[in-house]
């Protein structure tokens, strides 16, 4: 079974803090994704990576950056957290040439 693990289920941070969300997968998938999910807006793609050290912006990259130094790990960084970044963050992986995405359990981030 594919396992996608996000480092925290719940996180509370202060405005202006630098926040790191970690995602680790054990299935050797090339593609990894970060989404945020908000009521009525669905899942919106922030960034994705198709290989180590490779990244591309998604639909809403502003205020975020990512890092993929190893194949199994994809980190989302909030450079200076703001209250409008309060959301559920979901990491997903997908193998090359496949269609099904596998998600982590999500991180509920609250910025106060």
């Amino acid at each position: 079974d594919v396992k996608v693990t996000q480092s925290s289920r719940y996180l509370v941070k202060r405005t202006g803090e630098k926040v790191f969300l970690e995602c680790v997968q054990d299935m050797d998938h090339e593609n990894m994704f970060w989404y945020r999910q908000d009521p009525g807006l669905g899942l919106r793609l922030i960034y994705f990576s198709y290989d180590v050290k490779m990244k591309e912006k998604g639909d809403i990259p502003e205020g975020y950056s990512v890092s993929r130094e190893k194949k199994e790990r994809f980190s989302l960084i909030l450079e200076s957290a703001s209250t409008n970044q309060t959301s559920m963050y979901l990491c997903a992986t997908k193998g090359r040439g496949t269609t099904e995405a596998f998600f982590g359990q999500g991180t509920r981030l609250t910025v106060v």
Partner: protein
Amino acid sequence: SQKIEQNSEALNIQEGKTATLTCNYTNYSPAYLQWYRQDPGRGPVFLLLIRENEKEKRKERLKVTFDTTLKQSLFHITASQPADSATYLCAGTPSSGSARQLTFGSGTQLTVLP
């Protein structure tokens, strides 16, 4: 921009009935449509995939259709049970080789009443 729309935010049905959820897509032609289930506080879990050249796909009590003329997919749960209560997400992808997208709809929250 390409868009996946799930028209109903919420759907309540009686146990034993068939639930039908709708997914429409605009401004692109997905090669695949996928359906995911998401329980509160959890990540989505893949249920079914249907290709554009397939009219219908079944898995146990689940059935998915893909109508390229209407630009629509329907997701059916027959003999629904309270345990089927969850949010169901539709997602489109342009091709199996594309890393970039799944494009997700905002989901339909299904409640099956006992």
